[in-house]
Amino acid sequence: MDKFTERVIAGAKRLGATYCDCRLVDMEREDVSVVGGAPRAVVHAHQRGFGVRVIANGAWGFSSSSVVTDAEADHIVEEAVDIANASALAKKKDVVLAPVSSGEDMIPHQADVDPFTIPDSDKIGLLAEATRAMMLPGVVLARGQMQFLKERKIFASSEGSYIVQDRVESGAGISAMAASEKGGVQIRSYPMSFSGDNAQSGWEFVDAMKLLEHAEPTAREALALLSAKPCPSGVKDLVVGGQQLALQVHESCGHPSELDRVMGMEASFAGTSFLTTDKKGSFRYGSDIVNLTADATIPHALGGLAYDDEGVKGRKVYLVRGGIFEHYLNSRASAPVVGEEPMGAMRADGFARSPIVRMVSINLEPGELTFEQLIGGVEDGLYVDGIKSWSIDDRRLNFQFGSEIGWEIRAGKLQDMVRNPTYTGVTYEFWRSCDGIGGPELYHVWGVDNCGKGEPMQVAHVSHGTSPARFRHVQVGVLHE
């Protein structure tokens, strides 16, 4: 243990804490954005600080600071213990943590090429070329962005854990916006919407995206959408592309499986969950072929981790197996309440915030079908992909999602392109209607770096492994006038 974390933990014990952990985080970020061939921003950000979590008098306290000095450590420890003592005034029972193994470990990052060693001019140059290639007549905005993160996190606890984890993340994406009076505003993105795709990898991950090769085809699809027919409205069979399905998994499986939500801890902000504890082990969440996992061990996955922010080793559990809801994402304090072992899903955003239950990599296990077989099994339907808009109710049941692009399916073949496709449903009805999942060759783990949760808001980096999948009798093309 280093002297700083040793001082924090000794101080907490001296003040009466029965448990203490300290996270010392040093994080560097770089964000590069380019619009229409010209660099828009290069932002370097550095964040360093520590957070101290204690249990005193049977209640939690937490405090954090961006000033990493011995004097500040003493102040923050004292404040954390004071807060815990105040919390104890309103406690109904003592916090109990599930036992976990402790020890020392050092986890290296998974990058081959440190993206911070690549000159910014190279990053700008690649994005400039790609966005210029997208500026076809009719394209009003061509954007490209890259984001990189390098972090060293030290976790030390009064139970004897001392874990140093290094992490490197890389991500990139491009998008073309086209506009016309008839077609409105249409966007196509590659490889994924918003910040693109992200992974625990180095520059090699961005390099492999071949942004330049995909620039013009991406822009051409945006332009084609302008003259595409509007999405038809009705109940149809739906094939959801892997990228869009990542959002579906995130919103309708990942979030409702968070045990803190289930126990009401998020009720005042993001809401609760329909996956109440009485459903564990028996509730039919999806059809027999639906298997959903929480797997922190997938190499390079953005949501992967060796240890969470309670020092619990990351592992794989089945949230849904054979369509039956089986397991929650949990914490050391919540897992015993439902008879589970902690599975390593407590994560904090930076040093300043206390860890909460978060997704790791939440994945729909691949099936056996080819893309042609998925489409071939539809007489009258729609194929959609590309995340555009999402909304889901506070129990994670009623959802309405919009995609960037869609195609009608008739007699087992893709037909006309449609614009502004939307679909809506109820989570378990939707997943129960799943009758086909793409095979391993269609499987990809998408990295999502903008998952918001908690108060104050925390942003987590998660991931979702998906293949395209087919759903029967879904309401598509939501009318609103």
């Binding site: 010209a38 600071s65 309103a90 801890m265 939501v478 609103h480 006038e481």
Partner: protein
Amino acid sequence: MSKELLLDLMHNALGASDADQTEIVTMTSNSALTWYAENIIHQNVAEHTAQVQVRGVVGKKVGSASTTDCSPEGLALVVRQASQAARLMTDDPDFPGLPLRQAIAPGSVGGWVAATAASQPGERILAVKKVIERAEHEGLRAAGTYQVQSSELAVVSSMGVAAYHQYTVAALKAVVMGDDSSGYGRMSSVDVADIDPEAVGEKAVLTAVETRHPMEVEPGAFDVVLSPFAVEELMGMLAYLALSARSVEQHACFLEGHEGEQLVSPIVSLYDDGLDPSGMPIPFDFEGMPKRRVDFLTEGKGGNVVYDSYYAAKMGRSTTGHSLQQPNDIGPYPLNIFMGAGDSSEVDMVSHVERGIYVTRFWYGNPVEPLRAVVTGTTRDGTYLIENGRKTHGVRNLRFTQGLVDMLAHTVEISRNRAVLASAFGIGAMVLPSIRAEKFQFTGVTR
């Protein structure tokens, strides 16, 4: 940190810059939050953070860097990183240079209360216990947060800008749940003494009790009465989609080219005023430019949008003092939206509805057609059926898909009373009334 100490530190750091122009924005925050659920306090946290954001300008090239290290060495390093980043950029022909100092209204606009800054964890616990006890008395479960924050915003630049503002926020909210219903209460102020936990708890409990055993209502077009919380979600979406110079640039602003024209109901006035002490005032923006009132809609007629210095120069206007931290993808943004008060009350509005829906709040709004400000989301925490002028029954939550401008066009009644609703961004607030609108589109129902 004190005003003098912070500004001195920042001014000294300007000296380390080799850029043509340099701007330093510092936000410090001492924030504490008590988080409760299922009638227990499950998180109780504090954080002491500082964030320094620097723009370095070399010719028409702009670079940025940020740090949490407020030491003289940390500031000098981040200033140098910003100018290095600038040298990597190409010229932005639209960049007008950092803005020159402008006079900020003398004296304070308020916004800081010593008692709020000094409040202790025990005080928050006692307030939260009052909410919990009220819920327990009815056999209900309370969840929520009580946040107290004291912050500084300081901006200095080589163009003579030197602005400092200190502000506080106290915000208590409660979601109270029964087996099949829930209710919501919330109060925010710069002064912790204004927070009334009994009132917050009472409102949430009453709604949860009244909406027990919700019935299902077939979706469709309804007359609605929207509480200020519901109006807040929709106005937040409108601000993001259509009230800034960026939305004009993207031709996504319904106000563009329609100044002075009757666009929505003549009873609707919507504006941003960072200096109005009845909200949560901020005298200047993140470029240190003074806040100016911007009228988006005056008695339903089209007005202006908000600008920062970049968009102002690009579009031949003056900055209105609405820059967020630069760089950002959002563009200028209104952090202090007000809707003008009407002459009605919620009780009156409900009494004027033959068959409609009362919405306590909306949730998870997201654009469906950004160009037309069509958004979707769901109701939550207290949705009632109104029949013959009375709230008669709780209903299952409904999904809406609605054009926001259309909604303002069909607004027929606005309340006298307005609620101050602190922003989730930790700075600024909306001040909003309840409204009654016709033909609001519900497109789905939850289970």
